[in-house]
Amino acid sequence: MSRNLIIGAALTTLFIALAAISFLWTPYDIETLDIPGKLQTPNAAHLLGTDHFGRDILSMIMMGARTSIAVALVAVGIGMGLGIPLGLLAAARHGSLLDELIMRGNDLVFAFPSLVIAILITAVFGASAVNAIIAIGIFNIPVFARLTRGAALPLWERDFILAARVCGKSAARISIEHILPNITNLMIVQGTIQFSLGILAEAALSYIGLGAQPPTASWGRMLADAQTLVSIAPHTALVPGFAILLMVLGLNLMGDGLRDWLDPRIRVVRT
């Protein structure tokens, strides 16, 4: 295993653990306000300090990790759940009108500026975590569809697929039983990358007020709240920012590391 993979997996595990622990315990209740104790810098009682309402920032980071991970994970789920079947279908019916339609549809979604459309969707349907998930998820679909089709097409030329066809298996069964297992590694690597992009997108949407709504904690909104306080209490802006940075960095490093680790051929080429 490479150093990238270890550092990346460690960072990712840290944030997943923080999110998981927050279901059972946080140092403080984030819905209890403590105005006299506001804007404390990090100290023994509040390891990462407190915000403008006196809420414990570490507790909010833990709860925010939950929101970020949930939104990004479901958005990747939407992308994989719809994109992979579409890609498999396009590859199985390569050259058909259906293939053409799926790929042109993909190009179309790619052509849209995703941020603008996400803003439009959340503006019209209301700002909420669910709408943020949908807005981010839609743009994951063509990523997985294109990748799946590209990886599946050369597989269809291989002898073991020919053997399966000779056995009388249908295209659908071949896609699921023979093509899918062979592209799983690729999907895991891409899933990690899309996951990290989802974290960034969720933070951006929450920052402009179109993501998760109060009282749900979210890193992006913590930054929006911190913006006017940055000169008097820089830690309120630094802590959530570093949380996003480290989580995204961890996922990216893990994605790079996984790609090298899961695909020995790339490893040979690189060294």
Binding site: R104, D107, L108, A111, F112, P113, L115, V116, I117, I119, L120, I121, A123, V124, F125, S196, L200, A203, A204, Y207, I208, G220, L223, A226, Q227, V230, S231, P234, A237, L238, P240, G241, I244, L245, L246, V248, L249, N252, L253
Partner: protein, 314 residues
């Protein structure tokens, strides 16, 4: 080439048509009546009816869609409900912030990425390469609006070199450019990181090519071969990315404009969203999508003009 261009043009037109339908439909499917949505909960029924008539909501959907598209084709984007001025005037005012910002950021991104990418490729595997690649990992992972806040904290609040936000207008070009500098840096950084990586890997691909070996064989040093032959060829994929980044920067500016209180298209969209001024939202979003799709089309075309191999692909 003409066939390729015609093909791309067809898909450009289809993209634009579908985009306009999607944007129109999203506004259309707002739960309830757009007029009631815009006026809020306390509106009187006769006010709503008046706005419905003014917005043409009493006409069939299809007719309204065509009226909207026909209007835009003639440069008429409708009239803002809150500003009471033509949307095209609002856009014309603000494009002079958003467009220069995007161009400024693009220039910065390119100026950072080119030397960084070339240096990393020429020192492949060395300390400089590792440092630059590490920096690009950070650059890709930093949320740019947070980076913007950090820039404000350091350069506006502590060092007082720049103002923390706002835009003085183009009457004094020096002040205008100065006030766009921090936003442009914040916008450019993640793009520069991506571009530097593309530049590096594209150069490394080129350095493995036969023509570089030939250049070395005729007596050029590795550095001469890199500058005279590899860089020029490596630029093709890099230029595509630059083209795509422009549209990204224009759209990405929406959030950065919020951080720096810049009166650009992004702020116009947000103000219109909170004022429920849907006509403005609809038209500005359509305009941004239009620019992005057209820029992507031009990039495709330029790419194919430079590299004939690509014409057969699509």
């Amino acid at each position: 080439m003409i066939r390729f261009a015609a093909g791309r043009l067809t898909s450009l037109v289809i993209s634009l048509i579908v985009a306009s339908i999607v944007i129109f439909a999203v506004i259309e499917v707002i739960p309830g009546d757009p007029a009631a949505f815009m006026l809020g909960v306390n509106a009187r029924p006769d006010t709503i009816a008046a706005l419905r008539a003014e917005m043409g909501l009493d006409q069939p959907v299809i007719q309204r869609y065509f009226a909207w598209v026909a209007g835009m084709l003639q440069g008429d984007f409708g009239t803002s409900w809150t500003y009471k001025t033509p949307v095209s005037d609002l856009i014309a005012d603000r494009i002079w912030v958003s467009l220069p910002l995007a161009i400024y950021a693009l220039a910065l991104s390119t100026l950072i990425a080119f030397p960084a990418g070339i240096y990393a490729a020429s020192r492949r595997g060395g300390a400089g390469d590792t440092a630059i690649m590490g920096a690009t990992q950070l650059g890709v992972a930093i949320p740019n609006f947070w980076f913007a806040m950090i820039l404000v904290l350091i350069f506006a609040i502590n060092l007082r070199w720049f103002s923390a936000g706002g835009f003085p207008g183009w009457d004094n070009p020096f002040q205008a450019i100065k006030s766009l500098t921090l936003p442009a840096i914040a916008l450019a950084l993640p793009q520069a990181a991506i571009l530097a990586r593309v530049m590096r890997s594209s150069l490394l691909d080129m350095l493995g090519e036969d023509f570089i070996r030939t250049a070395r064989a005729k007596g050029l040093t590795q550095r001469q071969a890199l500058w005279r032959h590899a860089v020029r060829n490596a630029l093709i994929p890099v230029l595509t990315i630059i083209g795509l980044q422009f549209s990204f920067l224009l759209a990405g500016g929406i959030i950065i404009e919020q951080v720096f209180f810049l009166p650009g298209l992004g702020r116009l969209i947000f103000q219109s969203i909170s004022a429920r001024d849907l006509i403005v939202v609809e038209s500005v979003v359509m305009l941004l999508v239009f620019v992005v799709i057209v820029v992507n089309f031009l990039v495709d075309l330029a790419y194919a003009a430079v590299d004939p191999r690509l014409r057969t692909k699509s």
